[in-house]
């Protein structure tokens, strides 16, 4: 909390300093216009649909229980709450008056049709790398959605952050050339994956650290970040995953679930859900690229799954062990879903990266809220323990799981983290899925 407040003030000051640039960078409104018929040809729309899935547009631009792409989802940032906009082609409340040029400028430069700067929760820093044909296909897709008349809620940001021209300064500081790796030794799939990961799928938006002004630190791309209060694990050599992530593992994980590493939870789940409608080739391409980020061979603590005997004389660990036996073991010691045990379980919790994380957030969040069943489709289910376990018992359990399934020492600040995250257990966060 304290760190955040400092960041806020510092950010405010810097932004004010940048304001000069901002005014210089005034952007004009673009003339209203709609798509030309050729721009919404069926094959364009089909292509755009796949790209929209790979850009996870719906996951931000759809409110829980709301109409698709009509906006309204609250997006928590360290600076305040933003509300995703309506990107259906409704002329009044959506993007119905956007020409292709206006749409392109919004996507690549973060400026809306009227010339207002957009907050970088909208990942235009990544979309800057999109090709013209892909932007056009996304445009064709967006403009053929069902128009929904729905005003977007005003953002809840403190002044001066609510003053958009400041963003021009932010952009001057942090928007540069899009990252687009090229490597003559790699094949086309890898390059496709690089393009997707860096531009459209904006993996770095969560998996890279951000500076105090909320911009991704490019020199540390993919070394881990955060999203909606969850730890987003590193996708590079510093990954603490117990087993290396092969291309095949990643492809399975991104498409549904991987028996060696498990499946997605928290903010990564909508990403995996979105992949259901994407051709397998695109997923393989993403996997091919991301696998190379990890670098060759085991690194860091990638020492294989751990399952250590726990001495029985520590009362806290003994309590944790009893909780594990009665709450977790029925699924997590069933031998693993792939081997005929309870579906969507790894052969032991030693496979899970969350237990090798530098802090216990992800474990506590998934214990607290569980994993809600996917709607009308197969997918993992985990019951929520937020009501069944007191913070003390949750702490015991987390300590036990860490001691048993990770070679690293106990988590620092475990008790405080549990206390912080359990305080609001009756009021889960925006993406929390209070589960069975």
């Amino acid at each position: 909390m304290r760190r955040r407040r400092i960041a806020l003030w510092l950010g405010g000051a810097l932004l004010l300093a940048a304001a000069g640039f901002g005014i210089a960078a005034w952007r004009p409104a673009l003339a209203p216009g709609g798509p030309a018929p050729a721009e919404t040809a069926p094959e364009q729309v089909r292509k755009g649909a796949i790209l929209a899935s790979l850009g996870y547009c719906a996951s931000c631009h759809t409110a829980e229980g709301g109409r698709p792409y009509a906006g309204g989802r609250a997006i928590g940032t360290p600076f305040g709450t933003l509300y995703a906009t309506n990107i259906t082609p409704d002329p009044e409340t959506g993007i119905g008056r956007y020409s292709l040029a206006a749409f392109t400028r919004a996507m690549r430069e973060g400026v809306d049709r009227e010339g207002r700067h957009l907050y970088p929760a909208f990942p235009y820093t990544h979309y800057a790398g999109l090709t013209d044909p892909d932007v056009a296909a996304l445009y064709a897709f967006a403009m053929t959605r069902e128009p929904v008349r729905q005003e977007t809620k005003a953002n809840a940001l403190p002044f001066p952050l609510s003053w958009r021209p400041l963003l021009a300064g932010w952009k001057l500081l942090f928007v540069g050339e899009a990252r687009m790796p090229a490597d003559p030794r790699r094949d086309a799939a890898w390059h496709r994956g690089a393009y997707l990961a860096e531009a459209l799928s904006h993996c770095g938006a969560c998996h890279s650290p951000r500076n105090l002004l909320g911009a991704e630190v490019r020199t540390k791309a993919f070394s881990g970040g955060e999203a909606d209060g969850w730890w987003a694990p590193p996708l590079d050599r510093t990954s603490p995953a117990p087993l290396p992530w092969s291309e095949a593992d990643l492809a399975r994980y991104l498409a549904e679930w991987d028996p060696l590493h498990g499946g997605a939870a928290g903010p990564m789940r909508p990403v995996v859900d979105a992949h259901r409608t994407v051709p397998a080739g695109e997923i393989r391409a993403l996997a091919a690229y991301v696998a190379t980020l990890y670098g060759p061979g085991p690194a860091g603590s990638r020492t294989g799954p751990v399952d250590r005997a726990i001495p029985g004389d520590d009362p806290a660990l003994a309590r944790g062990a009893a909780t594990y036996a009665g709450a977790c073991a029925v699924c997590h010691e069933s031998g693993g879903g792939a081997a005929g045990g309870v579906p969507y379980t790894t052969s032991s919790l030693g496979h899970r990266t969350a237990l090798r994380a530098p802090d216990p957030r992800n474990l506590i969040l998934v214990l607290r809220d569980g994993i809600a069943p996917r709607e009308h489709a197969p997918g993992p289910i985990m019951p929520a323990y937020g009501a069944a376990l007191t913070p003390a018992r949750m702490t015991d359990l987390a300590a036990y799981l860490r001691a048993r399934f990770s070679p690293d020492g106990p988590w620092p600040r475990l008790e405080e983290t549990v206390r912080d995250l359990m305080r609001d257990r009756s009021r889960p966060g925006p993406r929390a899925e209070a589960s069975p």
Binding site: T144, R145, R276, S334, G340, Y344, E375, H376, A377, P380
Partner: protein
């Protein structure tokens, strides 16, 4: 219900000693009376005047107990609350086969109604003799026979003078439906208070003295053989009584339930299985089904000697994937073997067939086996209940003198229950110049829908024993009820028609009866196709149906459902209405259904917004009972049709729990679901429990067509399929 300890059962047994029921063939008798024509097979009166009703049918959650009590109480002029009811028990009740096919009211209630009426006549006669009054001047009411002068004789007194072992005469006088006071009323379900307040209500709730807990260990996939297991280590765990192995049947018995659970898990860790029965890849499911050998039967032919009429020929194919019963409570059974006699408490749907199977499996005379029905979780057909009873029997024999309780796990229930089979249909029709169907050609390709006991080889474990009982060859159920071809013959007026049943003799997954059997698929196909024809003819779907329907009762439900739904009213964008009709088995209840759906074009998600059903089930006994069956049937069939398919890969089924077999949840439930009953006082009871399954599937497909412009011809119509059909 009192807890079923052995003692109370013994008491019950002593009170109600089973009697040999002679079986003269008397075809004139209605319902199940030909199987058990004696009055006291159905109703008995104790010396204290207490009346007990006996039925060979079982309560499966369909509310049959309440309805049967109502029927008996009506004829005997008794307060329903004063009646005791004994359900399927091989030692006490008539043999009424399975409780299935929406037959309970037709068979059992009809028999009980006639037996009760016969008893009333005999009581009046006997009382008339005692009081020297003509019997028809007496009223049987309120637990007594009452004379006009105010004299009353209690039923207990009179019953002594009556030979209640007399057969039910075929001309017995029934009460005038116009004067009914109990039948036709929404008597609250008698079994619900215990169910909402923790009373003992289920086989799972049996706690017999000395009872042990057993868990079975099944292979990870069908067809796998046990090649190694470390039974010794598990047998020596505290609380474990023994590990039992016979061939590939592996089980653990423990004093306490949780000890059995943990022992089962330990046993699983050390068990090594090999092999398995291959299954086609999901994509190849239907091409595989199409290629399997099949026996063709022409089940209906009319007018085919006339020349093919002119007109437009329209064809369509429909498909259905494997679907499961998915009872919320995994199967359970309790059995006890005293060295010579075996008693089994089970929630299976047929106690008498089960007894046969158990006797064969254990080489016991049937007379030494008693099967008693106790409720379980709803089964909706042949689920794991018989198998669990078989396992309990095997283990009870291995541990004589102690009741053994077998409880399946969720994963076992999902993986091993016999599924509703994958099916395909092909429909072709000629639409004449007058806009009517001039020719109809239909074929349904289906595996069996009946692999229930009485064969020992129908029990899962019996096939896996050291000396196994092979599964008997599958059978096709004959028309008029049919199995895979149930409801394959449309009720519509078709001058020229041919209907064929291609009975597939072997399929890769275990299959058996799932609520409504082939009717679900056939009605889905026929009623979808009818809409396709109406569309081709440019006709309104309801009008098109009425133009081909002669049966006035059929027309009445169609008109009622359409009228109450507001058929034809414009709906908002993204919404659509769909209609369907069927008379279950062409001889049970009539059901017409109109639904409104909302289709989300982005995700392909279909939501059933509201539904209006009209049902004619003959004389209504309990309107709420029927309403609840229809509501439940619609919601269950909505879940089947929109969400459910058994997932499998080449090694076998992979739907092993609710995460891999998603079903409808509360947010999927319609905002409004109305059931309109057309009562037919005095006409026979028609089963209603399964009438809604088929119409629901078709009404949904027809509504999706209207809402999104796409025609889906395969169930389930999951969001992915709907989205794929819509495109972008």
């Amino acid at each position: 219900m009192t807890p079923l300890t052995r003692r109370t059962l013994l008491v019950a047994g002593a009170l109600l000693v089973g009697i040999g029921l002679p079986r003269p063939a008397r075809a004139a008798l209605p319902g199940s009376l030909p199987e058990a024509p004696r009055i006291d097979a159905w109703i008995r009166i104790g010396e204290d005047g207490a009346v007990t009703v006996l039925t060979g049918k079982a309560e499966l959650g369909q509310g049959i107990k309440t309805a049967l009590v109502q029927v008996a109480a009506e004829e005997l002029g008794l307060d329903p609350a004063s009646l005791r009811l004994v359900t399927a028990d091989t030692e006490l009740t008539p043999d009424e086969g399975y409780t299935a096919g929406s037959h309970s009211m037709q068979d059992s209630a009809t028999a009980i109604r006639h037996a009760a009426a016969a008893m009333r006549a005999l009581l009046a006669e006997a009382a008339g003799r005692r009081l020297a009054l003509p019997p028809d001047s007496l009223r049987v009411d309120g637990g007594a026979v009452a004379a006009p002068d105010g004299r009353r004789l209690s039923l207990g007194e009179v019953a002594q003078a009556v030979a209640l072992d007399a057969p039910v005469p075929d001309d017995v006088a029934l009460r005038d439906p116009a004067r009914y006071t109990v039948v036709g009323r929404p008597l609250p379900r008698i079994d619900i208070p215990a169910k909402v307040a923790g009373g003992a209500a289920y086989v799972q709730d049996i706690r017999a003295p000395g009872m042990v807990h057993a868990r079975i260990l099944r292979p990870p996939r069908p067809g796998a053989r046990l090649v190694g297991v470390d039974a010794q280590a598990v047998a020596s765990r505290p609380g474990v009584i023994r590990v039992h192995r016979d061939g590939d049947v592996l089980a653990v018995l423990a004093e306490r339930e949780y000890a059995a659970v943990t022992a089962m898990r330990a046993l699983a860790k050390g068990a090594v299985w090999q092999g398995g029965t291959p299954v086609p890849e999901p994509d190849a499911l239907f091409s595989d089904l199409a290629e399997r050998p099949a026996k063709r039967t022409i089940i209906h032919e009319a007018g085919t000697d006339t020349p093919m009429p002119p007109g437009r020929r329209i064809t369509a194919q429909y498909r259905r994937r494997y679907q499961m019963h998915g009872s919320i409570g995994p199967s359970c059974a309790v059995a006890e073997f005293d060295g010579s006699r075996l008693t089994v408490w089970s929630h299976a749907q047929g106690m008498f067939p089960l007894r046969k199977a158990l006797a064969e499996m254990l080489s016991l005379p049937e007379a030494q086996v008693r099967c008693i029905h106790v409720e379980g979780s709803g089964s909706y057909g042949h689920n794991g209940a018989d198998d669990a009873a078989g396992d309990a029997a095997l283990l009870a024999r291995a541990l004589p003198g102690r009741p053994v309780r077998v409880q399946y796990t969720r994963e076992q229930e999902h993986l091993w229950e016999p599924y509703g089979g994958a099916m395909m249909t092909e429909a072709a029709a000629v639409l004449g110049p007058d806009g009517r169907i001039a020719d109809w050609d239909y074929a349904v390709r289906s595996p069996t829908h009946l692999t229930r006991p009485p064969g020992a080889g129908q029990l899962l474990s019996a096939r896996m024993l050291e000396t196994p009982f092979p599964a008997p060859p599958p059978k096709a159920l004959p028309q008029p009820e049919g199995g895979g071809d149930r409801n394959a013959i449309p009720l519509y007026r078709l001058p020229r028609a041919r209907v064929a049943h291609d009975f597939v003799t072997a399929v890769p997954l275990r299959v058996s009866a799932l609520r409504s059997l082939g009717a679900y698929m056939n009605v889905f196909s026929i009623e979808s196709f009818l809409d396709e024809l109406a569309e081709a003819a440019g006709a309104d779907p309801v009008a098109f149906r009425l133009a081909h329907l002669d049966d006035p009762r059929a027309r009445a439900v169609v008109e009622a459902a359409a009228g109450r739904f507001g058929w034809g009213r414009a709906l908002p964008k993204g919404r659509g209405a769909g209609f369907a009709f069927a008379r279950y088995k062409n001889l049970a209840g009539y059901c017409a259904l109109a639904v409104e759906v909302e289709v989300d074009r982005e995700s392909g998600r279909v939501r059933m917004v509201r539904a209006q059903a009209a049902v004619d089930a003959g004389q209504v006994v309990n309107p709420h009972g029927i309403r609840d069956q229809i509501e439940g049937g619609i919601i269950q069939a909505m879940s089947w049709s929109l969400f459910e398919a058994v997932a499998h890969d080449a090694e076998g089924p992979t739907s092993r729990d609710w995460s891999t077999y998603p079903i409808a949840r509360f947010p999927d439930i319609p905002e409004c679901l109305d059931v309109h009953l057309i009562d037919r006082p005095g006409s026979p009871f028609l089963g209603a429990g399964e009438v809604a399954q088929g119409p629901t599937a078709a009404a949904l497909a027809n509504a999706i067509r209207q809402a999104a412009g796409v025609r889906l011809r395969e169930v389930p119509m999951r969001p992915d399929q709907v989205k794929a059909a819509i495109g972008v």
